[in-house]
Amino acid sequence: MYEQFKARAEGVSAEVHRFATAAEALAFLVGFLENEGVADQAGRSGVFAACPFLEHVDRSRLAAIPGLAFEVTRERAAAAKVGISQVDWALADTGTLVQDATAIDKRLVSTLPAIHVALIETGALRPDMPSWLADVRPEQTNYIAMITGPSRTADIERVLTIGVHGPERLVIVFIDRMEGEN
């Protein structure tokens, strides 16, 4: 299922990575943010929406990155270059991420910044939408968000252009074992 997901997601211009542990994913994330030059200034900062991943890793390594905020506000998200959140499911046949996005900060970090990094447990992969429907409880979830690749448009002369109102990059990080060895 992972291979199918990866092929489909890359087919719509998403970047897909996979790590065995949360600690390895953390190391990647720290490197990624440094590489993107995340810093404490408008247009270069980062926002991280509250999520289980943060409970399982050494947060001090993230806290050490200047300009990366964990208290997400609309102003911070609007000024950020990178937004990070954890999503709840992935659908292999379309390369889609699915999130209970009722909490506003999850939507702010995945809509306003230029880059969205989505963390996901590999075990949350489902083959397709009908199999996911069996898991979801819409009566308890006021905002379900599905994300398939970065924001795109073809409204001018049918030319595909990435990054309109939403992120121009979607970086997906699979984590096989979220808990355990830090």
Binding site: D93, R107, D155
Partner: protein
């Protein structure tokens, strides 16, 4: 047709940007759509969608109330109304009550339908469309030309001009740069808006949820940033169960933009927190605006199965020439014609319904399994019923209804056309206002001797065991009697005697396609009597339009008029009716006909006639027969796209018919084959006439003429 409407067609046809962009898109769409549906059973999928949408349409009131109950239980405010004015007033009241100064909107056809933007702007509120295409047409002061791609009619240069004015800076036409400018311009509008307005693609009664499908991410911002969200939802979007969203989300992006899924899908089931900790005010307006009436109509109920993918526009040979604006201001293309007739009024569709050439391409791809051309025919019928026919049309059909007079006129026309035919088989030029008819196409001269006279002189072998009644149809009878002779030759070789009942007349298709069902019913009754008088094993026709009339439409015409007198005989006739190629293929398979040995006849290309392929589903028999005869089949590009004939269509809208024909000629020539075959004398008339004026050395022949030279009686017979 009104001069203004003809002028809008003319403008569109001469807009090279428009026809270029739409032409390229329609070619790419066909390939990409097929790819997106790879490995999916489309028939099963659309069967499921048709079923769930049809079931919802049959209990709209119940589902709307259930939706209200479930949504309100979650804290959503639901407003139901049938009146567009009440929708506008409700939104204005919410805006005024909350001191709203600025609104952001994501794409919503329902708000286009009720002209909401102009109304709110008049009330002094800033309204910003945020879908890139919608924003472009808002800046241009235009209306959407396509349901999914509202600005497809505009070039990047035009967009650059618009944006340059907006940002007060000279921009180049670099598309990624223009998109960046749009992102930059829209951001502050999103952040300062106090109200977001969206539509919805699906509304689920069971959970009170709405689903929004977008690519740009604007709907996510519209539903997340402002503290108030109003969704305007046409009640045709209602489905019963949450699980119903899966099949719709499987088909909608594939059919709309050939994507497996759009970048974003949002399912909103209740108010969510705002970024300042307050709760969002969520309003959902369930708008009827004649949808219930549509659902209650036994025929138009089917249109409620539409999921608004616009694939009927994308495959339409007319839409790709004229674009959306010719159709009117809101809903365009095939389904748009139907929606306009209902949401606006029947009269509004009077002119645009005439744009449909009845080729059936849209019916094949519709994920809601809607018979769009069938419903457009029904609009025609009701228009004629309501308003009567034009005087000229009326006199034509009164002639068609009188077989003797009709046939006498056709004979007289043979003499009258002589000066224009100049001793050839073509009329190349007609004078004055008729000149359009021969613009890019020669018309066949009426035959000196119609088939009904020719047939009496044919000496058929005696003692043949089987009998087939031949229904010639007007074109073979009066323009191409040699096709009828070829058919007799072939069937005689298979041991079948061909009978031509003299009482047969026009199949009624011209009347039916013009909405004159009473005339068509009279034609049907006359033909039924003539064709059933003689006991026969088959009733065969070499014209697919006539075959469809005998096989399907006589019955349908009687049914829609509520006439039952001739129905049993119409069914008896339908059961015996068979098209020429299918019959010959059967005779070859049965070993009653065979082909000359070892023939190498060279390349041939085949043009699919609309009725043969899409109604009779007989696109393979002629290909197989021609290949068995010894031809090498070189398929042309877009082999199954209409040639632009469409019966009287090419007479009413020659300016549209002509460019469709030119495309077909180009595709035929591009194969390099010196011969093109087809099974319809109407297509022969159009394509042979076009090839004659084009001057290309390509022979245009009916399959029957070609096969008559190649089939032999099987030695196993007798």
């Amino acid at each position: 047709m009104q001069r203004e409407f003809k002028a809008s067609i003319d403008r569109a046809l001469h807009d090279a940007n428009l026809t270029g962009a739409l032409g390229k898109f329609s070619e790419a769409y066909k390939i990409n759509r097929a790819k997106a549906y790879e490995g999916i059973d489309f028939e099963a999928l659309r069967g499921r969608i048709a079923e769930l949408k049809s079931s919802a349409a049959s209990r709209l009131d119940e589902l709307a109330e259930l939706f209200r109950k479930n949504a309100e239980a979650r804290g959503t405010k639901v407003f139901r109304t049938s009146n567009p004015a009440e929708v506008r007033d409700y939104i204005l009241k919410v805006a005024r009550d909350n001191g709203v100064k600025s609104i952001v909107k994501s794409k919503s056809m329902a708000t286009e339908e009720i002209h909401l933007n102009a109304f709110l702007e008049k009330a002094g509120i800033e309204v910003n469309e945020t879908d890139l295409g919608e924003w472009i047409i808002q800046l241009a002061g235009q209306t959407p030309s396509h349901m999914v791609m509202p600005a497809i009619h505009m070039t990047k240069e035009e967009v650059a001009d618009l944006f340059s004015k907006e940002v007060d800076e000279r921009l180049s036409s670099d598309i990624p740069r223009l998109v960046k400018v749009a992102r930059g311009e829209m951001r502050p509008k999103f952040l300062r808006a106090d109200l977001g307005i969206s539509g919805a693609n699906i509304a689920v009664a069971e959970t009170g949820s709405i689903t929004l499908v977008t690519n740009e991410g604007n709907a996510r911002l519209v539903t997340s940033l402002p503290k108030i969200h109003i969704a305007v939802v046409g009640i045709e979007k209602l489905v019963a169960s949450f699980s119903d969203i899966a099949p719709i989300l499987k088909a909608l992006p594939r059919s709309a933009t050939a994507q497996l899924l759009t970048s974003y899908v949002s399912i909103i089931s209740g108010p969510t927190p705002n970024s300042d900790g307050s709760m969002k005010e969520l309003h959902i307006i369930l708008m009827d605006n004649r949808r219930s009436e549509m659902a209650a109509d036994p025929m138009f109920k089917e249109a409620m199965q539409c999921i608004r993918c616009a694939s009927c526009l994308n495959v339409c040979p007319i839409f790709r020439l004229v674009g959306g604006h010719v159709f009117g201001k809101v809903y365009t293309g095939g389904i748009g014609t139907i929606l306009t007739a209902w949401y606006d009024e029947l009269k509004s569709s009077e002119e645009i319904q005439g744009l449909c050439i009845q080729c059936g391409a849209c019916k094949d791809v519709c994920p809601g399994r809607i018979d769009i051309p069938g419903l457009i025919m029904e609009i025609r019928r009701r228009l004629v019923k309501e308003q009567g026919m034009g005087l000229a049309q009326k006199s034509i059909f009164s002639v068609v209804n009188n077989r003797r007079m009709f046939h006498a006129m056709l004979r007289a026309a043979s003499v009258a056309a002589k000066p224009f035919a100049r001793g050839t088989k073509f009329i190349r030029h007609l004078p004055m206002f008729l000149a359009d008819l021969t613009d890019g196409r020669s018309l066949p001269a009426i035959a000196a001797k119609p088939f009904r006279d020719v047939v009496t002189a044919i000496d058929q072998p005696k003692g043949l065991k089987e009998k087939a009644v031949f229904y010639a149809g007007c074109l073979i009878d009066f323009a191409y009697p040699e096709m009828g002779e070829a058919l007799v030759t072939i069937l005689n070789r298979a041991g079948i005697e061909v009978v031509f009942p003299d009482g047969q007349t026009c199949c009624g298709a011209p009347a039916r396609y013009n909405g004159a069902y009473e005339v068509a019913a009279k034609n049907a009754a006359d033909n039924i009597q003539a064709l059933l008088a003689e006991p026969a094993d088959y009733v065969v026709s070499a014209c697919p339009t006539c075959t469809v009339a005998l096989d399907h439409e006589f019955i349908a015409t009687f049914e829609s008029l509520g006439q039952s007198r001739w129905l049993p005989q119409a069914r008896e006739l339908a059961a015996k009716t068979i098209d020429f190629s299918t019959l010959v293929k059967k005779l070859v398979d049965e070993g009653r006909l065979t082909f000359k040995e070892g023939q190498q006849l060279g390349a041939i290309t085949y043009h699919d006639s609309c009725h043969l392929k899409r109604t009779l589903k007989a696109d393979q028999p002629p290909r197989q027969l021609l290949q068995r005869a010894g031809y090498e089949l070189a398929e042309m590009f877009e082999c199954d796209i209409c040639c632009g004939m469409g019966g009287s269509y090419s007479l009413k809208l020659p300016e549209i018919s002509a460019p469709i024909l030119q495309r077909k000629l180009h595709n035929i020539k591009a194969t390099g084959a010196p011969l093109v075959a087809m099974d319809c004398p109407g297509c022969v008339m159009q394509i042979r006439g076009g090839m004659d004026q084009d001057g290309a050395p390509v022979r245009v022949r009916h399959t029957v003429e070609i096969l008559a030279e190649q089939v032999e009686a099987s030695s196993r017979q007798h």
